[in-house]
């Protein structure tokens, strides 16, 4: 189903939860709404479902405005954060509920439930009650129940929030594959960027009731359009006065910069081809991170964070090292842009 949302607005009492939100979603896409808690993600999802009424704006499914349709008539599947399974019904009855509402014949119901039970790997659990299932199994039931009536749109509210970290990983992959197989347009809400990056075709970053950016995970990472997005996605350090940093002296309009660990290279003098673009720093802390070292290095007044391969020579605290900042995400009050290290570029052109 093609979904279009125009100028959506919602207040809860004094609280302005959703501010003039517009977006559209292609049929068959899997979209992640990502952002901090209280940012309005869940409100948007619930308005799409018809569980919440927008103050103004349009929600259009398949070219038809659905604002006035109750949730019962929107042909959606909704997976709740705590699954909201019917406690007094078995797995079978839970999945069959939506089909019974549709007044399907008994054999048809049985067939469809069986199909979903197999699809979600719940065979043998049909007669269990929700309290007899593990968290992951409950999630699968919630998923099967939402899919059973063959909805046009699947909405998932923090689908993995209540699950152990270990199983979460496994379920993410499973969910992604399943949605691909079913081919249904899906939107899920999460506050976990790893989850969004891993599962979604496209991500919408929601903050303070607004859509900050919409795009593929790679685009958002590469070209964050607001400082919020830049700081929310990936790891980063904020530098207050970027003009003091070597290679960025001419960034006069910018006051601050955001630098990701992977933008930074550190090492001994011999490890750099363009020594002139580097500056000196002191190693302040070393954290062993399993597959690499996380290094805190002090450059002038700022402290930068980067990673260093275990294959390279191990650094020590207090050691003097060379630091090369490849690029930085610069911003001031009005705008933001990405800048490459100026010295690096100059030097390259000079050598050629």
């Amino acid at each position: 189903m093609h979904i279009e949302v125009r100028n959506l607005d919602k207040h809860f009492g004094q609280f302005h939860a959703v501010k003039d939100v517009s977006f559209s979603i292609e049929k068959g896409h899997l979209i992640g709404l990502l952002g901090p808690s209280g940012g309005g993600k869940t409100s948007i999802l619930r308005m799409l479902a018809g569980l919440e009424t927008p103050d103004s704006g349009d929600i259009v499914f398949h070219g038809q405005r659905v604002n006035n349709l109750p949730p019962q008539e929107r042909e959606i599947g909704f997976v709740f954060q705590n699954y909201a399974l019917f406690k007094h019904m078995t797995v079978f009855e839970n999945i069959a509920f939506g089909l019974k509402v549709k007044k399907l014949k008994k054999p048809a119901i049985r067939e469809r439930v069986q199909e979903l039970v197999e699809l979600t790997g719940l065979s043998g659990f049909e007669n269990r009650y929700p309290h007899q299932l593990s968290g992951g199994q409950r999630q699968r039931v919630a998923f099967a129940r939402a899919l059973a009536p063959e909805p046009q749109l699947l909405l998932l509210d923090e689908p993995f929030a209540a699950i152990d970290a270990k199983i979460r990983q496994e379920l993410r992959t499973w969910l992604r594959e399943l949605i691909e197989r079913v081919g249904i347009t899906s939107i899920f809400v999460t506050h976990d960027q790893d989850e969004a990056i891993e599962v979604a075709d496209e991500i919408m970053i929601i903050n303070g009731g607004r859509v900050e950016q919409k795009g593929t995970p790679w685009d958002i990472y590469k070209q964050p359009s607001t400082p919020f997005v830049a700081s929310f996605i990936g790891e980063s350090t904020i530098i207050e006065d970027v003009n003091r940093l070597k290679g960025f002296e001419n960034s006069s309009q910018a006051s601050r910069a955001l630098i990701r660990p992977e933008y930074i290279e550190i090492g001994h003098a011999g490890e750099f081809r363009l020594l002139s673009a580097t500056e000196k720093g002191t190693v302040r802390h070393l954290h062993f991170r399993g597959s690499q070292w996380m290094v805190e290095v002090e450059v002038g007044a700022s402290r930068l964070i980067t990673y260093r391969s275990l294959e390279k020579e191990t650094l020590e605290v207090g050691q003097e090292v060379h630091v090369l900042v490849h690029r930085a995400y610069l911003f001031n009050e009005e705008e933001s842009w990405i800048a490459e290290n100026a010295l690096k570029a100059d030097n390259v052109s000079m050598f050629i």
Binding site: A84, F86, H88, F97, P149
Partner: protein, 265 residues
């Protein structure tokens, strides 16, 4: 020390509850089984028990139904403002604080033969006070909070998730209520019903004031016990009281069972 406390507790329960029960039972059979049967077989006793039964039936039906609805509205109604719900919520408890006699007096003041409303009903041949309707209204007043207060916490704990899930699966409110909400509040409703039955069975003060305690007309089981005592007819009073006590103990046992089921779900 522990022994002493346990003994003292047994003593309190025995003196306050167990021994009086035994004394009541032996008192009822003070003139043998025949005396007990004779006390119950009196036409006024049979009539009083019938009245009590009728009141219990009508009151439990009405307050059960309206109590459940009121409970649902107080927890769920988005069409009522929060303030209004809070206000109603505190008003629900008021009958607890009202002495039954005052409850009865209220009905007399409002619907008595000297009032406008009462006179109007009297004219169309419908007697309220000193008649069955008044007794029902008085008992309704006294027992109203019981069902509401049982249903509300369960609904609060249940939350709206399951109901919303049902609505996204295409179910409208009627089906959602019967298939999703009702199974969860069922035991609370049963518990509330038992409480309402017990309270309306035993209501005395309000009914005494409203009914005028007219023998073979508006006399209930509890007001008959009172009248028998006033007439120093101790055995008869004990007999009727024993029947009421047995009913109450039966209800108490049911309550225990309902409470356990209520906790499971």
């Amino acid at each position: 020390m522990k022994r002493l406390w346990i003994t003292l507790t047994w003593l309190v329960f025995s003196i306050l509850i167990l021994i009086p029960l035994v004394v009541l039972a032996t008192g009822a059979f003070g003139e043998g089984t025949s005396g007990f049967i004779k006390a119950l077989a009196r036409p006024e006793a049979l009539h009083a028990l019938k009245m009590t039964g009728l009141i219990v039936l009508v009151v439990t039906l009405l307050n059960g139904l309206f109590g459940i609805m009121m409970g649902i509205y107080l927890v769920r109604a988005t069409w009522l403002s929060r303030r209004l719900r809070q206000l109603f919520n505190s008003i629900v408890d008021l009958p607890y604080a009202v002495s039954p006699v005052i409850g009865g007096l209220m009905i007399v003041l409002l619907l008595g033969p000297d009032t406008i409303v009462g006179a109007f009903f009297e004219q169309i041949g419908f007697k309220v006070v000193y008649a069955f309707p008044g007794m029902v209204i008085a008992t309704l007043f006294v027992t109203f909070p019981l069902m509401v207060r049982e249903v509300m916490p369960v609904l609060q704990e249940l939350g709206t998730d399951q109901e919303q899930a049902a609505s996204t699966l295409g179910a409208y409110s009627w089906r959602t209520f019967w298939q999703v909400t009702w199974p969860s509040i069922r035991w609370a409703v049963i518990y509330g019903t038992i409480l309402t039955v017990a309270r309306s069975l035993g209501e005395f003060g309000a009914v005494l004031v409203v009914s005028g305690n007219i023998i073979n007309k508006t006399q209930t089981a509890t007001t008959l016990v009172y009248q028998d005592m006033e007439n120093f007819n101790v055995t008869a009073a004990n007999g009727v009281a024993l029947v009421l006590a047995v009913f109450s103990i039966g209800l108490l046992l049911l309550m225990e069972r309902a409470k356990k089921r209520k906790e499971v779900h």
